[in-house]
Symmetry: C2
Subunit: 295 residues, 2 copies
DNA sequence: CCAAGTTACGAGTCACGTAAGGATT
DNA sequence: AATCCTTACGTGACTCGTAACTTGG
């Protein structure tokens, strides 16, 4: 299970092709074939189906571990690099859209501006995976990731090393103004298993998370939104393209939609802070402190 | 950053010796020296001080990642093996002592006995690290690990893949019966920074966790208890060897000690369930379901 | 029949072991 | 002087590329 075997395996699985993976990694097809064969013989398990190339059940399981391992390798390299290079006075924050929408985050950024007015702060918004991997790789000093959790649980962040909860908010179902459910004081997630849902994985909680917290299958995507703009998503939901779940903090006052709290199961929208090693006296450390539960 | 370089680095750091690591891994000293040199040149950073051999700052950071990576490699192998081999009807549970003491766990085990009377269940008690790594390596189907957390946070478990909160309990400071603090209705952790503490890392929360949740240094160990027996630890605290923190659920009714709730910071004793892939209809899946927040 | 993965085989590289060379206590 | 790590060097194993082969749509 050498790292480059795992890297190759991940590339093949992602691209669904030995030759494409070979091209991406700068190998020949034959080399890739040999590497996969070596990995399969090491683990004594078929990892990929051929023609078409898809992961087997065992391969799919391995893939999850491999993603975490490769990310952590990047994180290790970035962390060591950070120890050796001079501490930076600038700060780059990675945000998921709804994490940025949280009042706690807005307040902390404002406080940081007051506390360290000379710090050069830049913010990048992206999907959950982008933020998590960006932090791991050291591209961001700090990441803020949102998601759905049971009360008391934390988010399944890819690189869990340094993570702490920053904010929690009630979850609401966004509906067109005239929707029959809009009159209700609260809805049960289980009643919406077979509804039309919008998959907007880079903004709202991905439907896989909804299934996870509900403990139910279903919640199939009838509509897919690939952008990262919250208002666009709300507009889609308001015009009846499908349902989506959003935290109360993300909803503007009036926009021609209704929002009904989710009453069961008890689920919270949660924003979590993730970061690697923080140099003392850096803007990143200051922001982390402002965002910490004690801060 | 090949896996065997990381493995060697971890061994050298753990043993504090190139030669000892070589002996353990079946290499010559020279090979180990070359591997460390290769790793250091790859990362362009000194990772180990020589004579005596100790990790540098960068090495220490790397070491944390390496531990996680190597563990995850084991976990990946175990997970794949589980997919290929036939599902087992037996169940092995790894427990930290205080996790086993939680009523929720006792009830779930009893319920499992009723639900699947024929299942062969075995339980092993060990320290947090042993349980976490045992689960990752597939030695345990399920692990139950306890620790100290802020409300809403989850435990920093090494392999976070599948983890969920199972039980929470108030934290108390255990004191000899006549202790001055024993009359108080509650104590602040900050007032106990300079007290005599017992380090009993395999039973009670390790003092490093206490420092973490308190956000303070101090809490130095005046006494070290290496066993895994809760009653022995309580006896030590009751006879004034030092302080320890225990969840209310672990304390017997009367044993010549006092216990005062911790009122600040708000901290909970938390039991967390960790597991790899669970085969459907296995005793492990049944127990996980019984222990899940919904179960 | 073509695209795509596998197998065979040779070549270059790389990592290990042996052995000699420092350095530190 | 002894212990322990480093460096030098030769050899063997391993992995990659080329090329021929096979299989599936």
């Amino acid at each position: 299970m050498d790292t480059h075997l795992l890297r190759t395996f991940a590339a093949v699985a992602r691209l669904g092709s030995f030759s494409a993976a070979a091209a991406e990694l700068g190998y020949t097809q034959a080399a890739v074939s040999q590497q996969i064969a070596a990995l399969e013989s090491d683990l004594k398990a078929a990892l990929l189906n051929r023609r078409p190339v898809t992961p087997t059940e065992a391969g799919a399981r391995l893939l999850e571990h491999v993603a975490a391992i490769l990310l952590r390798l990047d994180a290790a390299r970035a962390d060591v690099a950070r120890m050796t290079s001079a501490p930076s006075a600038s700060l780059t924050v990675g945000l998921t859209p709804l994490a940025g929408g949280s009042p706690a985050v807005a307040l902390a950024l404002a406080a940081l501006r007051r506390q360290m007015p000379r710090a050069e702060v830049s913010v990048r918004v992206g999907g959950r995976g982008d933020v998590a991997t960006g932090v791991a790789r050291g591209e961001f000093d700090i990441g803020l990731i949102d998601g759905l959790t049971a009360p008391g649980d934390s988010l399944p962040v890819l690189v869990s090393e340094h993570a702490s909860g920053v904010a929690q908010a009630e979850v609401l179902v966004v509906l067109p103004a005239g929707h029959p459910l809009a009159r209700r004081a609260g809805v049960h997630l289980a009643d919406l298993v077979d509804a039309r849902w919008i998959e907007a994985a880079d903004v709202a909680p991905p439907l896989s998370d909804v299934r996870r917290v509900a403990g139910l299958d279903g919640f199939r995507a009838a509509f897919r939104y690939d952008g990262t703009d919250t208002l666009s998503l709300i507009r889609l939901a308001a015009t009846g393209q499908g349902l989506t779940l959003l935290p109360g903090t993300a909803l503007p006052a009036a926009m021609g939609f209704s929002a009904v709290p989710l009453t069961a199961p008890r689920v919270l929208h949660r924003v979590e802070l993730v970061h690697g090693t923080l140099a003392a006296d850096s803007p990143a450390a200051a922001l982390a402190d402002l965002l910490s539960p004690r801060g």
